[in-house]
């Protein structure tokens, strides 16, 4: 079981969700984040004073996947990245030692859902 953490551009969330549903991945979580990277920030000005905004709004995605799904999802996202439909972003894959479903107490791959 792996935990996929992905940072993507906010307006690319909808294309990504469509991609995931095509892969029949229906469980994921997202939260608002800010990212800093080589990406050029915004130039803002407040009452005449320059303001360098170099923290870009990002969507942070967490998808817990069973091993056989991982490469399927990653490859699909990289394809989306290449053809520009998903824009820039980063994916980190971390190991999950155990998963539990609160409502039923199930654990292991079946709890990933």
């Amino acid at each position: 079981m792996k935990l996929l953490i992905a940072y993507i551009q906010p307006d690319k969330l909808t294309p990504l969700r469509e991609l995931l549903s095509k892969l029949e991945v229906f469980r994921y979580s997202i939260s608002d984040g800010f990212g800093h990277s080589e990406e050029k920030g915004f130039f803002e000005r407040y009452r005449g004073v320059e303001l360098d905004v170099d923290l870009m709004k990002k969507i942070r995605l967490e998808i817990a996947l069973n091993d056989e799904y991982v490469s399927k999802v990653v490859d699909a996202m990289l394809a989306g990245g290449k053809d520009g439909s998903l824009g820039d972003g980063k994916i980190f894959v971390l190991p999950i030692e155990e998963t539990y479903r609160l409502s039923t107490g199930e654990s292991g791959p079946v709890a990933i859902g």
Binding site: D11, F42, F43, E44, R45, Y46, L55
Partner: protein, 415 residues
């Protein structure tokens, strides 16, 4: 002849109508996304600023100067006015009305219009399109005399501006929104509609309450005379507004199984716009009917404009001001009942007098202003589109106009 009390009443009405700028800004801002909030504020602020100056220099003369039949030819720069003349009160009163017409257009063009191009559009509306057409119905209020005021079948009646201010604003908004095209994401490739919810409904609701508060000045102030009629006009105005709320609530309950807040708020505005033309001419029951119909029309029209005409109007300006303004104008030909009210020697409305003549005048007026607005609007928007471009780039629209056109954020949280 004007006296101190009429000056005071007209000025109080003027101050109220000025505050409608805040009402419109809040409605537009609340019904659009937070990434465009500052752009909306700047458009509303500049609407009024440019409008006031251009109306003083040019617009007022065109609308109220001695008319050559089509537009006024004198009184530019309020020339020839001296001492504590009534003209000062009259010009500021008419200025805030001109500002209202212009700001209606900004709502329909929200979230995707280039700021510079919008200023040009707003300038031409307040300097030429509005005053010239306005002179046809209201010229005689000053030195002018509009042809619509001398129709054989009876002078065109638009007491406070259902057509002159609201419909004209609404039809210009229609042309602008059509030429601009919908916002990105509004329609899917296969033409299905996607909702783009506003970011702050409480702001939009406060905007509607402010507009309703100021509308008492808009309608009852148009007497420019402080007599007993202002109470009647205010009462009639309120009856239509509340009827618009009730009918739009009931209709949304029927259509969507739940009372829809944003549509009911539009219902209030629909009732207010609808009664504006006839507020001095119709009975309480007439006002209730006009309001009820307006509340239904606005809901149907918003859906029609969005689905059938495929025009993206984020705040419903076309429906609230255009459609309900037209309905209000035509309703005068149906419900005008001066004699029944005891304020005139004969009833002009079809339902009271059985005669179609006033209705006929109202239809002429509607037709004249509809054509004028669509034609001049089409020319203006197409020219600006050709010479300067009217729409921001896709990238700017995605990031939001605040960051790109104003280098600022509406709601900044220190990180």
């Amino acid at each position: 002849m004007q006296d101190n009390m009429n000056v005071m009443w007209t000025l109080i009405a003027t101050i109220l109508v000025f505050f409608m700028q805040a009402g419109f800004a809040l409605v537009e801002l609340g019904l659009t996304r937070s990434k465009n909030a500052i752009n909306i504020i700047m458009k509303n602020l500049m609407d009024f600023a440019i409008g006031s100056l251009s109306f003083f220099v040019f617009g007022f003369g065109l609308m109220f100067g001695k008319s050559n039949g089509l537009f006024g030819t004198e009184d530019f720069f309020l020339s020839g006015v001296s001492g504590n003349s009534w003209d000062y009160t009259f010009i500021i009163f008419q200025t805030v009305f001109a500002g209202t017409a212009a700001t209606i257009v900004s709502g329909a063009m929200a979230e995707r219009t280039r700021f510079g191009s919008y200023l040009i559009i707003s300038f031409f509306i307040t300097t030429f399109i509005y005053p010239i057409a306005g002179s046809w119905s209201w010229g005689s209020l000053h030195h002018g005399n509009g042809f619509l005021e001398n129709l054989g079948t009876g002078a065109f009646i638009d007491f406070a501006g259902s057509t002159v201010v609201h419909s004209m604003g609404g039809w210009l908004a229609l042309t602008g929104a059509a030429i601009l095209g919908p916002r990105i994401g509004k329609y899917t490739i296969d033409g299905k509609i996607r909702a783009i919810p506003g970011h702050n409904i409480p702001f939009a609701a406060l905007g509607v309450f402010i507009l309703w508060f100021c509308w008492f000045g808009f309608n009852a102030g148009s007497t420019t005379v402080a007599d007993f009629s202002i109470g009647r006009i205010a009462f009639i105005t309120n009856l239509s507004a509340v009827s618009g709320v009730v009918s739009s609530l009931i209709l949304t309950q029927l259509l969507y199984k739940v009372p829809d807040a944003s549509m009911t708020l539009n219902g209030a505005l629909a009732g207010l716009v609808g009664i504006t033309a006839g507020c001095n001419h119709v009975t309480p029951v007439g006002a209730i009917i006009i309001g009820l119909v307006a509340g239904i029309l606005v809901v149907l029209s918003i859906t029609f404009v969005e689905n059938k005409l495929k025009i993206d109007d984020p705040v419903g300006a076309v429906s609230v001001h255009g459609v309900c303004g037209a309905w209000g104008t035509i309703a005068v030909g149906l419900f005008a009942a001066e004699k029944t009210l005891g304020v005139g020697d004969k009833d002009l409305g079809l339902f009271y007098s059985g005669s179609f003549s006033q209705l006929f005048s109202q239809l002429i007026g509607f037709g004249v202003y509809f054509t004028w607005s669509i034609v001049t609007g089409f020319i203006l928007f197409t020219l600006v589109k050709k010479f300067r471009g009217i729409r921001v780039s896709e990238e700017y629209e995605r990031l939001g106009l605040d960051i790109t056109e104003h280098q600022a954020e509406a709601y900044y949280e220190t990180k």
